[in-house]
């Protein structure tokens, strides 16, 4: 227990250090603001990995197909692309700013995140 607490503080310190002043606007913080606990997304003992797609889909859309329908008016549709159904956390990072990975190769404008 003591060890876990120590590890949590250690990791928390890393996040605070790495994320600077705008930390309260990140996706994970918004989840906390809405009353979620870390463990509701992070299944491992000490949060260290990005939650997998299935975890996100439980509350968001239910399936990738449904997500794609919800964002069908966007061009390109970020949830239905030629690169396939990427893990959510690739773009929607919990403790960092959103990263629109389509623009690793392209330069689309106007794709803003949740």
């Amino acid at each position: 227990m003591k060890k876990n607490l120590l590890a949590f503080l250690l990791l928390a310190a890393v996040f605070v250090f790495a994320t600077s002043a705008v930390a309260d606007s990140y996706l994970a913080d918004r989840h906390v603001q809405r009353g979620l606990k870390c463990a509701q997304c992070h299944t491992e003992k000490v949060p260290s990995k990005a939650p997998k797609m299935d975890m996100c889909l439980k509350c968001h859309g239910g399936s990738y197909e449904e997500l794609a329908k919800a964002t069908a008016s966007k061009n390109p549709n970020p949830h239905y692309t030629h690169i396939g159904d990427k893990e959510c956390a690739v773009c929607h990072k919990g403790h960092k700013a959103f990263e629109f990975i389509c623009n690793d190769c392209h330069q689309f404008r106007g794709q803003k995140t949740p």
Binding site: K3, N4, L6, A7, L10, L11, K45, V46, S48, N75, P76, N77, Y80, T81, H82, I83, G84, D85, K86, E87, C105, H106, Q107, F108, R109
Partner: protein, 496 residues
């Protein structure tokens, strides 16, 4: 070993150590040991979840054997997802329904011609014998919908069967459909699993692969065979430089950044006959945005100038030849396709570039255009004037370099446009030579027992150029052939 993975593994270990407050705790080691699967055994081990690999997986399953697909990335990441999704085929149900008269012999002759007679005739014959049925199979078994046949490609006989991609690339759609077909059959596709070495027996027959997984090295043993479907090496600059020279290695990349030559690095140690290693397909690309201006280069209108404003190549060449030559002609590997509004489809190119936020330039005068593009105005004006004068006097061939447009148009209708582009590499043609059973052969032309290759991983079928749609066509044909042969081997082994 991949330094990236080693570093990640180390980070993981450090985080675990921090979490437990100890280093090398017994509980952690036991957990890790539990995660690493024991040696796994399948009938067919397929490397790469591209068209060739996934087609092979479905065919293997339908032949009654047990396949597994190992994919080094987190999703299918080969060239297919970047492709328009065309298959070059004759004698399909669709061709017959459209009343298109075609024959296997004609397709064979055309494929040999475009390869300057250097393609392996046996493989070419195998392609034309199977492709018709295989395109029908994609419709019936995989559920692919093709667009209406167009009078494309060379020599324009209505052979292009293009996957209807909807809002995404036809290739992206093809992969989605193949994945669905695998899912329906419960075929395991193991992602983040990279084959690093073939396993052989005392007779140098291939019996499996050693693969790096997230939990370390795992041995995947094959009862029937291993199919290399990892694509070519267009993203491996070291191989491009070694096999093709510096100019080629400076081409921009048009397709997947993960095609790094496992077809060669895995098969070289078993003495596979590596052929056509200097051969590749090229095309224009804007690497910053991945806009493809090939239609402008193939329009038959306008001229191509370099950053110094001078013409550099005979514009009558195909876009393939023009893109291939660019890094040799200009140190920047950069040029501008200049067109005027005589090209009626220019709006389409403008729309495409605009959608992809790709820079292009437009002006009512050539001077203004050059200025906007940041090109030397005098040189550009002189190049356009020189071209226009030669069109009028019928002396295009006397230009330096000559221009051999058969039906040239003067550049005199404003507005004028400049589309910048780079030469890019699409795919490599070289790899381990296969036979008609998709078996990899040795330098002595003997099949290596247990080793197969399909799609762009295999060598022998393409040389110089290929008829559009033949890459996905070959992936389908030889992917299916490899699995059918493995199924035969498995059945024979069971009887013994």
């Amino acid at each position: 070993m991949d330094p990236e993975i080693t570093r990640r593994g180390m980070m993981k270990a450090l985080v675990v150590a921090a979490a437990t407050g100890t280093v090398g705790s017994a509980a952690t080691a036991a957990e890790a040991a539990q995660r690493v699967p024991a040696t796994q055994v399948y009938d067919a081990i397929i490397l790469g979840a591209g068209t060739a690999g996934l087609v092979a997986a479905v065919e293997a399953y339908d032949q009654g054997i047990k396949p597994v697909v190992l994919e080094k990335m987190d999703l299918p990441s080969g060239n297919t997802i970047y492709a328009l999704g065309s298959l070059n085929a004759c004698c399909t149900r669709m061709q017959k329904q459209a009343g298109i008269a075609d024959s296997k012999d004609e397709l064979f002759a055309d494929m040999m011609k475009i390869s300057a007679g250097q393609a392996d005739p046996t493989l070419t014959r195998t392609y034309v014998e199977h492709i018709g049925d295989d395109v029908d199979w994609l419709q019936d078994t995989i559920g692919v919908t093709f667009l209406k046949l167009q009078k494309l490609p060379y020599p324009r006989l209505g052979r292009i069967h293009r996957v209807d991609g909807g809002s995404i690339t036809g290739g992206g759609k093809l992969i989605r459909l193949l994945l669905a077909a695998c899912k329906k059959r419960n075929i395991p596709i193991l992602y983040n699993t990279k084959a690093v070495e073939l396993i052989t027996d005392k007779k140098m027959a291939v019996t499996g692969v050693r693969a790096l997984t997230e939990d370390g090295l795992v041995e995947f043993m094959a009862r029937g065979g291993v199919i290399i479907a990892t694509g070519g090496f267009s993203a491996n600059r070291e191989m491009l430089c070694s096999y093709m020279g510096g100019a080629t290695s400076r081409l921009a990349l048009r397709g997947s950044p993960y095609l790094t030559g496992e077809n060669i690095s895995l098969t070289k140690p078993v003495f596979a006959k590596l052929v056509h290693l200097d051969q590749f397909h090229a095309g224009p690309i804007v690497s910053a945005t991945h806009a493809n201006p090939a239609d402008a280069l193939n329009s038959g209108y306008g001229i191509i100038v370099d950053v110094r404003g001078k013409r550099i190549i005979d514009e009558a060449n195909t876009y393939v030849a023009k893109a291939r030559a660019l890094p040799s002609l200009t140190p920047e590997n950069m040029a501008y396709q200049l067109v005027d509004s005589s090209w009626t489809a220019v709006r389409k190119m403008v729309d495409k570039f605009t959608h992809l936020n790709t820079r292009f330039y437009q002006d009512d005068t050539v001077e203004g255009l050059a200025k906007k593009a940041g090109l030397p105005v005098e040189a550009v004006v002189a190049s356009v004037k020189g071209y226009n004068d030669a069109v009028k006097s019928g002396r295009l061939k006397d230009l330096n370099p000559p221009c051999t447009y058969k039906n040239p148009f003067a550049m005199d209708k404003s507005p004028f446009y400049a589309f910048p582009f780079e030469g890019g590499i699409t795919a490599t043609f070289g790899g381990p030579k296969i036979n008609a059973n998709a078996q990899v052969v040795t330098w002595e032309d003997r099949p290596i027992k247990g080793l197969y290759a399909a799609g762009n991983a295999a060598g022998g079928l393409f040389f110089s150029d290929y008829i559009g749609g033949s890459q996905l066509g070959a992936a389908t044909v030889f992917g299916r052939i490899a699995s059918r042969h493995i199924a035969k081997v498995c059945k024979k082994n069971k009887k013994v």
